[in-house]
Structure formats: C-alpha cells, structure tokens
Symmetry: C2
Subunit: 385 residues, 2 copies
C-alpha cells in the first residue's frame, strides 16, 4: 500500500507520480550540504547520471543545480554560445520558441526552423541550413511537451557530424530523459538537459545536465566571460567535480532533500536495463495511442514516427474545450493537462504516461485514465443531446 495520502492520479506530462521511496526521501531530515553523508549522496547521484545518460567518457560532465528545467537553457546560452554566434533551433512546439528567446537574451543569434504543428523540420532542410552558415550549436527538443512530437536524435546527429562536425548538438530532453532512447556517447550528443520531474520520477526543482568533453573544451576556450552568475559553468564546475570526488565544496547551497530524492529515483530507474525501460514506455505509448484512436480521437503528432513515447497530445472532438472535459476527468480521479501550444491551446489535451505510471502496470493508472477519458467524453456528448 502506498504511504502517500490518497490523491488523484497525476497523468500530465510532468510533474508525474512519484514512488513511495522517492516521497520518503523528500522528507529526509535536515543535513549539512558540506557534511560527508550528503556529500556522498550528491557525489553518487552525479555518477548515477552518467549511467542514466549512457556515457562512459570520463570527460563528460554532469550538473545538478537547484532550478526548473528552464534553467538548462540559460546554462547552454550563457556558457556554450558567445554573443553574436549563430544557433539553429529546431522547432517542434512551444519549447523551441522559448529556447530561442533564452539564447537571444544572452546575445546569441537564433535561427528557427519550424514545421507545421504536429510535424518536425526535415533532415534535408536542416542540411541546407547547416551548409548556409556556420552554426555554433543546433538545439532540438527531443519531446516537445506542448505537442508530444518526438525528434529522433540519431539521424540528426549523423547529419550534423557529416555536414558540420564542430557544431554542438544540444538536446532538450526535459520530457524524454528516462523514457525515450537516449545514448549520450553513441549519439554524439554535446549537451543533454532535463529536469527532475518528468520521466526520471523525482519532484520538480532540479535542473539536470550532461555536457560532453568537447563542449566543456568549447566552454574553457570561450573569449567572453559567461553571461550569467547563477548559471555559470565557471562557478559550478569545481563544485560538481568536488562532490563527485566525495569532497565538500561550496558555491550555493544545493537542495539537499531534492538531491536525496533524485538519488533514490535514479537508483530505481537504473535497477533494470534502460533498454527495458524504453521498451516499456514504447509499449504503453502504443497501447494509449491505439485506445485513443479507437475512441475516434486524433493526435497532434502527424506521424507515428513523430510521436513521443512519454506522452500523447490529443485533439478534442470539434467544439469541445479542455475546461469542459478536464474537470470530468478530475472527478474520476485523473489529472490530465490542457493544451500549451499557443495557436491551438483550446483544442487539445495532454496525457503523460511516463515513469512509475508506465513502468508499474499494477498501479492501473493508464487504464483508469483511458476509461475516464472514454466515459468523460461520452458524458459530454450525452449532455449535448
């Protein structure tokens, strides 16, 4: 039985349900951030992240910093790009626009490649863009939380390495890491950034990042100073290196309880092969998508090859809006999210199926959610008659 108070099942694309063990870690007693017990936990957490991101290169550098996932964009924009440099932003929804805004804040020149809603920029146009000018970095949203569009990383990486090998590949994995295939080394990724509250299964409040040796060298050789203080690699790098070596170090007080919770969730995630975890997310996603289709509902993702395995963005029947259906789902004990993509926010809802809700079928949350959606829609239809 769960030690958590009874509550509706949280099936939005993050934050997600957490396990009892993670919840208990959040209630950890107060610890000194420079005392050996916490230093050991933080150090192990950083090392566990190497496993999560699948990197064995000792030059890869993990970062865990108090903040929302958004902070990861500042870390990229303030440390890896210098003012005036060009960045190619591959846009598959809300989060492309925001990342571009963040890059521009620090003086970079973002160029966005956009696709129609539910689609993604295609490799030939990306290749043409890369040949047109020198880009310091390409950013891609692995899963855009606003649309549920997946961007497969390997073919993109192959293209970049062939056409513009020095260009940094920055993967926004906020809604993917822990649920979607991601191999930091094999896919030749330079930055993979994420947040604690999605497929990793920890509460929100941590910005998490893995940076390649190549990208750290780019940082070390930058001509201008980092454009941020709180989000400066210069300030955080020695701290992360010390903690991982189990030595105390201080720049800013880390969120000790959240780090305990991340340690617990990473242990749980890594207790079985990541491949089985990814496979289970694919299985659940296919199941959800087939059920949604059988209800006569369309998805935002135009093509199954574009569709995330961690979530599904679902168009509502014509004329129905999220405020009409979401309270009905809530009454059945299920929390879904409304739309987020500005142009169509009132036309769709989002269903997150990642982490423990996808991995532990005995919780029954996925079927409960699908049943709630089906009966909720029927109730709305009947009320119209």
């Amino acid at each position: 039985m769960s030690s958590q108070a009874p509550h509706p099942s949280l099936l939005i694309p993050g934050p997600i349900e957490i396990t009892d063990e993670v919840s208990q870690s959040m209630a950890h007693y107060a610890q000194s951030h420079v005392g050996q017990p916490f230093v050991n936990t933080f150090g192990e957490t950083l090392t566990l992240l190497r496993g999560l991101f699948q990197t064995t290169n000792p030059g890869s550098q993990p970062f865990v910093i108090a903040g929302s996932g958004t902070l990861g964009w500042d870390l990229v924009a303030a440390n890896l790009v210098e003012p005036g440099e060009d960045v190619l932003v591959l846009h598959t929804g809300y989060f492309g626009d925001s990342f571009a805004d963040c890059l521009a804040t620090y003086g970079a020149k973002p160029t966005q490649l956009k696709a129609p809603i539910g689609d993604r920029p295609q490799l030939p146009e990306i290749e043409a863009a890369l040949k047109e000018k020198k880009y310091k970095a390409v950013t891609v949203t692995h899963v855009d939380t606003s649309t549920g569009v997946l961007f497969p990383i390997q073919p993109l990486s192959d293209l970049i390495r062939r056409v513009s090998p020095d260009t940094l590949l920055v993967v926004d994995g906020v809604c993917s890491v822990g649920g979607e295939e991601l191999h930091f080394d094999k896919m030749s990724i330079d930055v993979a950034l994420t947040a604690s509250q999605k497929a990793i299964g920890c509460p929100p409040g941590l910005s998490i990042m893995m940076v390649s040796e190549k990208a750290m060298n780019v940082f070390q050789s930058r001509k201008s100073a980092p454009g941020s203080y709180y989000a400066s690699f210069k300030n955080w790098l020695p701290i992360m290196q010390h903690y991982e070596a189990k030595k105390p170090s201080y720049f800013a007080t880390p969120p000790t309880q959240l780090v305990q919770a991340l340690h617990t969730s990473l242990k749980q995630v890594l207790s079985q092969p990541l491949e089985s975890r990814f496979a289970q997310h694919r299985k659940v996603s296919l199941y959800v998508k087939s059920k949604v289709t059988s209800m006569g509902l369309k998805q935002l993702a135009l093509d199954p090859a574009n569709a995330a395995n961690t979530m599904t963005a679902i168009y509502l029947p014509e004329g129905l809006t999220p405020p009409q259906i979401l309270p009905k789902l809530m009454a059945k004990g299920v929390v879904f999210a409304g739309g987020l993509h500005r142009e169509i926010a009132a036309k769709y809802i989002r269903f997150g199926h990642m982490g423990v809700s996808a991995m532990d079928e005995s919780r029954g949350e996925i079927d409960k959610a699908l049943e709630a959606l089906k009966t909720g829609l029927a109730e709305v239809e009947n009320a119209k008659k």
Copy 2:
C-alpha cells in the same frame, strides 16, 4: 515525538532543523503545477510572504523561484541594474565579494566598501561614498553567514533616504529573514532577498524575494532588456501575479513540494507575532554568546552591536582547527560548520541558532550544542597533555 529519523542536530547557519510538519509537506504527493489545489497553495504562500517581510503596500511584489539563495543576486543584477551603472556593495564578509562578482557579471560597476574582519563599514564613510557619485543601488548583507556580522538596516536606510533618495536599498537577508528585525515598509527597503533554508525553516531550494513598488517601477522603465532569461522579472512577474490571484500560469515548473513546505513553514512562523520571534532569537543569541565567552572563546563580531542573532562565529583556541573539533561535536550529535571567510577559514567555527532550534526550547538543542562544544574543547586540550 518527532516523525523524522534520529539524526544529529543540525546547528550550522543553514540549512537548519525543520519541523515535522514541514518535513511531511516535503513528502506531499505529486500535484499539477497548474491545478487549482497547488495554485491556491502557491498563491497563499506569496501572500504570506507579505506578512513575513512586513509590507502592506499592495505594490510590493513577492517572488518565489526554484533556485538557491544565490539566484537572488542574479535577480537583482539582471533586472534592477543596467550595464554601466554603479552599485555600492557594503562588505562584511564572503557574501559581499560574491554579490559584487554577480553584479559585475551583468555589466554593473560594483564598488566595495570593506571593513576589517568582524566589523562593518561605518555610516560616515558610506555617506561620503554616496556623495561622491550616483549609485543605482546599495547592497548590504544583513547577516553575513561567513562572519556572523549583523548590519542594522534602519540607520543605513535613513542615511540613504537623506543623502541619495533614489538609490535602491537591496538587503541580502539570506541569513536574517525570519530571525532578525526586518520591516520592509518601515525601513524603506527596495529589495529583500532570502532563501528557504535559514531562519524561515524550510529545506533549501527556493530563492525568495520581496521587491518594492519603486524598484518594480525602476525595472519597468529600464532601457535594456533584462540580462537573464531564467532570472528575468519580465518572465516571472506575470506568473507571480497570476498565482497570487489564484489563477494558473506557466513559465517554468515550480518545485511543488518545496512550495508546500514553504507554505507550512510560513504558517508556523506567522502563527505568533514576529516581534516575539525576533525577541526569542535575541534571547537565545545572547545566551549562546555569554556561554561562549565564559568558555574563554572570542567571537568574530568585534562589537555586540555588530553581532547577528541568528548565528555566532567563534574563534577556536590558538592552534586548533575546525577538522580537529568538528568530528568531536558530530560524535556528540551536533553539527557545526567550519569557517568560510577565505582569510581565516581554518581558525573558526560557526554555530547557527535560528528557526525551530531557537524557538522551541523544549528541543534542548542549544544547550546540547553548548555542552558538546565545552566538552569537545576539553577533550582536545586533554589530548595535548
């Protein structure tokens, strides 16, 4: 009886011991950051901060953002000061240097007024500095966590309002808010920034700030764009305003459990008059300082009027270093902190006596700590013989 696992008493100058209710709030089940239950909690939390900071001006603007206390400096430097503008930094320890570094990162020109260790810059020299050039802001560390030096705010505020009324008064209250006298309106403060893990009694992970109407107007009329994305008032202001009006809003996912814990700790702090809370901190501090003196130990703060009520920085006997005494205290179930001020770090220790450890005498932690210090020092002395 405490619901928390048995653990050594954490008596460093933050993080501090937390109550069982705060600990339980950290274990809150997962919630949607835009669902009404959490929106209500966050909104109430922002309103409670008006009480904590003692401001009744509806134009005062609270912010609560995922991050360490350090993030507060970026919020000030990126939003309230424009590149090239002068800022006067009153230095009473480590945190003055760091705030100055942060200001310079965003293009401001910090001028530091320094005092000998244990002292603080005096009003006449501050007045002279203010008359010499136009400062956009004066920053002051209310309690410098590295030295335990207190800077009384009212006389400083009176001086600034008399000599340079437009200059913004920025109070770094990381180690003071919730323990030391602070009246946002009465003291005519423009920014009071703090963190969750000190005298407020919440775990670390939240940057907390109150900004005056005047400072918000300064922000609104700035000529350049804010120098940060994650730390931009432009991005956060509508979010804070919506949440306080109990409406959902999204820029970056707030740390829902930490906000629950802050809500709980603020309710506890505000359950009695703040004046009694400040008085109890003064009483405990005087008690600690008299006991420390009776052990023959000197404090860093040169004058009782300079000494914080939330913590005490204590010189060790000649030849003794923190690594020799801290493990002895730990063996007695008490966690103190080592030195932090670069020049003398190996010569002193720090004792935090704030929050629940100071307020709830039945916990007995203060006497336990003093007894541990006394016997620990005696053991070291005896070992030398």
